[in-house]
Amino acid sequence: MAVRVQTADFDVGAEIARLRAGDARIGAVASFIGVVRDLNDGDAVSELTLEHYPGMTEKALEEIVAQARSRWDIYDALVIHRVGTLKPTDQIVLVITTSAHRGEAFKACEFLMDYLKTGAPFWKREQTPAGSRWVDARESDDAAARRWS
């Protein structure tokens, strides 16, 4: 399955091994891990809670993976996104792409992250010393996603 939404943590090494699965056509594996930072918009963050839209989230992610496959010459792609309550240094999201060549693997991986940021229904709420707040969407993320269109 190319897409997983889960509360459990993930093991990047094991996921890369599983995705490669001994396929000797693969010459390039690009991956990205998004991690909870202890600081956001200048405030200390002690906890991050991810809400999502069950059903639509998986559907949106699968559509984004299908787009990446049609745009770039990749063999496979994996997206894992966690939901629930996380702490600083916890892993949030993993994207892996495999290809014969590095350019396609890198572009597909970055595309997946950019599209996921603006097109998949997740919402972050963070705990700061001043209380809990919803994280605002960033114009820079919209701009990053527009690069690909």
């Binding site: 809400e51 999502h52 639509m56 949106a60 996104h81 603006t118 229904p121 919402w123 709420r125 919803w134």
Partner: protein, 93 residues
């Protein structure tokens, strides 16, 4: 149902994140009022509930919508049986 009767068009509406909290509601079932056939007119209808509804769904507020789990704009048509969701811009990743 007898001939001549019209079947009520019921939609399911979901609210997420900041909207869910402000409206104090995660979902509801709604009989589509006469003349409400797209996302934009549904928003107008909900806004008329006043209070938090008027504030949170005010024109200019960043509200996103999905119809049957596809991102949709105000022109997207809706009909009985549809699942419609309203939420703030997404912030995953």
């Amino acid at each position: 149902m007898k001939p001549g009767e019209t079947q009520a068009a019921v939609v399911r509406i979901l609210y997420f994140a900041r909207l869910r909290e402000a409206l104090d509601r995660s979902e509801e079932e709604l009989v589509l009022p006469e003349g409400v056939g797209d996302v934009g007119s549904l928003l107008t209808f909900l806004r008329e509930r006043g209070g938090a509804w008027a504030n949170e769904l005010a024109p200019g507020k960043a509200v996103r919508a999905a119809v049957n789990q596809d991102m949709s704009d105000a022109q997207a048509t809706i009909k009985g049986g549809d699942e419609i969701a309203f939420f703030p811009p997404v912030t995953g990743g």
